[in-house]
């Protein structure tokens, strides 16, 4: 095993793109995100981070912490343009590129060494080229596995490069806190802490059987492998679309069940329509609920037959929402369809007595009407807004 996996992560990507096209902003705190009452920071450059501004912080808080910052609304078209160009740079080096989002990707460069040199040189080359062509910086982690490469880039941020050689993996990994392990959240971390396990090395040293008692069979094997520096995942070029989702943040917290139902119906319609357009049906429906105190929960339920029918998504999502929101004031709700498979590959189980032309046909008709006449042409009656003069 050699260190041939790269994790490339753009530094404060949205903010960097803004600074790149407006050089007068260089050195000033730049914060990109939703500027409305309920906006959240999407990206903050390093001068802004010095004020304690970071992504996912409520915008109101960011303004308080950094009153002299430059606050910008995101321009996704621009970021997508830069992102495509950066991904193209990666693909010049190796075809094995797995984009994780617009601003990060894994690269497998083991086959590129003869052409471009050692992974360290390849990483340097990528960093230089991105900076020269786009005037933005990135951080690259180089390691024998994806997990280690990602850890390396996290440690080297910003504008850095860290190479972990195979024989240096354990020395790097073992002093790290357990929370750095992929899959360890607060809950697992506290179960591990109860066993006196604080560092990755502690976890690696523990027999799997004892770990299993604390975190369960699957998690125990997973953690033990990671803690020992093993990660069998390969760089996966064709990432399957694993889920389709939509969410909405309310301008003011909502507890009115009718308003929530309507919002959920609209989200379900969006998700159903996207799934149908992409040619997928999904088996699991997940709702995301964020309460007024920012506590966020997701709850899912699995259908026994995969669907792309908004009506079915809504029924399940609404049941989950009613059960888990407890009538509380909500800040955000989301609906997601997971466990996707291509539509043509499954037979659908209709309900007894379901008409042959049921909701799905109706929704498909709506899809095609919208394609021709725009998104607002047909909607469920309950989504008509009397105040806006829809009728």
């Amino acid at each position: 095993m050699t260190s041939g996996i790269l994790h490339v992560d753009m530094d404060a990507f949205f903010a960097s793109c803004e600074v790149a096209r407006r050089p007068e902003l260089r050195g000033r705190p730049v914060i990109v995100g939703g500027l409305g009452a309920r906006g959240v920071v999407s990206a903050a450059n390093y001068p802004a981070r010095a004020y304690g501004v970071h992504s996912a912080l409520p915008m109101a808080m960011a303004r308080r912490r950094c009153p002299r910052g430059v606050f910008l609304s995101p321009d996704f078209t621009e970021y997508k343009r830069v992102s495509d160009s950066v991904m193209a740079i990666f693909r010049d080096v190796t075809p094995l590129v797995e984009p994780l989002s617009v601003d990060e990707a894994f690269l497998d460069v083991r086959g590129a060494r003869r052409l471009f040199g050692e992974p360290r040189e390849i990483a340097e080359g990528i960093r230089e080229r991105i900076f020269a062509e786009h005037d933005i910086t990135c951080t690259v982690g180089v390691a024998p596995t994806k997990f280690m490469a990602k850890l390396a880039s996290t440690k080297a941020k910003p504008d850095g490069l860290l190479v972990i050689e195979p024989d240096g993996v354990l020395a790097f990994l073992h002093p790290l806190p357990v929370s750095d392990l992929w899959g360890v959240g607060e809950k697992t971390a506290s179960s591990l802490a109860r066993l006196g396990l604080h560092t990755v090395g502690d976890v690696a040293a523990l027999p799997v059987a004892r770990l299993r008692a604390a975190v369960g069979q699957a998690a125990a094997l997973h953690l033990h492998e990671l803690a020992s520096g093993r990660d069998p995942r390969t760089v996966n070029v064709t990432r399957e679309e694993k889920s389709v989702g939509a969410e909405t943040t309310f301008d003011t917290d909502v507890s009115d069940p009718d308003v929530l139902r309507r919002a959920l119906l609209e989200l379900s319609n969006k998700v159903g329509s996207r799934a149908r357009r992409a040619g997928y049906v999904g088996r699991t429906v997940t709702v995301k609920i964020r309460f007024d105190d920012f506590r966020t929960i997701t709850r899912s339920r699995t259908l026994h037959t995969p669907t792309d029918v908004a009506r079915e998504l809504f029924t399940l999502a609404n049941a989950l929402l009613t059960e888990h929101s407890g009538g509380a004031a909500l800040r955000l709700i989301g609906v997601r369809l997971e466990g996707l498979v291509e539509t043509g590959r499954v037979a659908r189980q209709p309900a007894l007595g379901e008409r042959e032309h049921g909701w799905r046909d109706a929704e498909q008709t709506v899809d095609s009407l919208r394609e021709r006449f725009g998104a607002k042409v047909v909607r469920p009656a309950s989504l008509l807004d009397p105040a806006a003069g829809d009728h």
Binding site: V281, R301, H304, T305, L316, A319, L320, E323, V341, T343, G344, R345, V346, A347, R348, Q349, P350, A351, L352, G353, E354, E356, R360
Partner: protein
């Protein structure tokens, strides 16, 4: 409190009660079995706010009283005791069990904290226990398991005069069993929805003992409760709100095609073929006058097919089912021959049983129907 009893009688009673106790009680006392001795009889009760069970055993009572002990532990202990008289005594916070030379001391829980069991409602009629057990198992298989649709998790019991109908559906299939029973009042007209799990556990536990089961329920304006008794055992269960969707009208009155096969053989073939079907558990029946071919295809081009003998009367056709639903129906008909009656390959199929009658002619068995919606292919 103190009593003596033969081990076997105690074991049967304790085991039966312990089965209905919650594995994860909402409050610790609900994991308890309540033992009370009165007038030479021991009553053992269990309750989880949804289902209550109570069994009475004759004992040699030395002192009346009550004691609450862990039901599961008590069940394990009595099962392991030697076949000798058992002496049970409860004093100050613990219970002592003595049997031969074995001796156990168990902690007791405060009886004051134990909730009062619901009173048994009035009897409305009776039905033989074994017949009831079979009927319930034939129907409960079609009940839903999705708690977001609580109505579908019930078996609807319709009592109209001397006919009793049991009905369950999870929207994709429906099972209906109609049979006779002995109502106390021939003009009875009552319908209730009983949680399928509670009903099938009860019916199954009453079945082997034989005799009659008495059904008890509050008359008009009841308290959301149903009761069952047989011999010395009594159970109550909460009932569900609402009614099942009216799907009976989907049962066709005339058919365009009929398929008769050996039920056990179709079960075996379907299980074998379904091995390749993976998550998408579809199996197809291709039927023509030549015979029946059962086939399934999974992802990655895995395929399986098997031909079998059948009697078929109708146009050649192909129909697809969720394999588990088909298998459930094939075992629920409880008959050597399965009859699938079709109107159209896209429309619900009726599965019934058939068996050789008096003149060895295979006859369809009346009284049970399993309606199943075939799968549809989308583009």
């Amino acid at each position: 409190m103190k009593f003596r009893v033969e081990r076997d009688a105690l074991t049967t009673a304790v085991t039966w009660t312990a089965k209905s106790l919650p594995t994860r009680p909402s409050v610790p006392v609900l994991a308890g079995a309540l033992l009370s001795v009165n007038d030479g009889a021991l009553t053992i009760s269990g309750f989880d706010y949804e289902i209550s069970s109570q069994v009475t055993v004759n004992v040699e009572a030395d002192a009346p009283g009550t004691a609450l002990v862990s039901g599961r532990l008590l069940a394990e202990i009595v099962k392991a005791l030697p076949a000798k008289p058992v002496e049970f005594a409860a004093v100050d916070g613990h219970a002592e069990i003595t049997c031969g030379s074995a001796r156990f001391t168990l902690p007791t829980m405060p009886v004051e904290d134990y909730p009062a069991l619901p009173a048994m409602p009035g009897a409305v009629g009776t039905i033989p226990a074994d017949v009831f057990a079979t009927a319930v198992s034939q129907v409960a298989v079609a009940a839903g398991r999705d708690d977001t649709l609580p109505t579908m998790t019930g078996v609807q019991v319709e009592m109209i005069g001397t006919s009793l109908a049991l009905l369950a559906t999870d929207r994709y299939r429906m099972a209906v069993r109609e049979l006779d029973w002995a109502p106390d009042d021939d003009d009875i007209n009552l319908t209730m929805l009983i949680p399928a799990k509670a009903l099938s556990d009860t019916a199954r536990s009453f079945g082997p003992a034989g005799g009659d089961v008495t059904i008890a329920m509050p008359q008009e304006g009841g308290t959301g409760l149903v009761g069952f008794s047989a011999q010395n055992r009594h159970t109550t269960s909460r009932v569900l709100d609402g009614q099942l969707p009216k799907l009976r009208s989907l049962l066709p009155t005339a058919y365009n095609a009929k398929l008769r096969v050996t039920a056990a053989e179709l079960v075996e073939v379907s299980r074998r073929v379904a091995l390749v079907a993976e998550r998408d558990t579809r199996i197809q029946l291709r039927i023509d006058s030549e015979g029946l071919v059962v086939e399934a295809g999974g992802t990655e081009d895995a395929k399986a097919s098997e031909a079998m003998d059948c009697e078929y009367d109708g146009e050649p056709m192909t129909v697809a089912f969720n394999s588990q639903y088909l298998l459930d129906g094939l075992s629920a008909i409880n008959a050597p021959t399965a009859v699938l009656s079709f109107t159209d390959p896209m429309k619900p199929v009726v599965l019934t049983g058939a068996a050789p009658g008096e003149d060895d002619e295979v006859q369809e068995i009346e009284g049970y129907k399993y309606l199943l919606q075939p799968l549809r292919f989308e583009s």
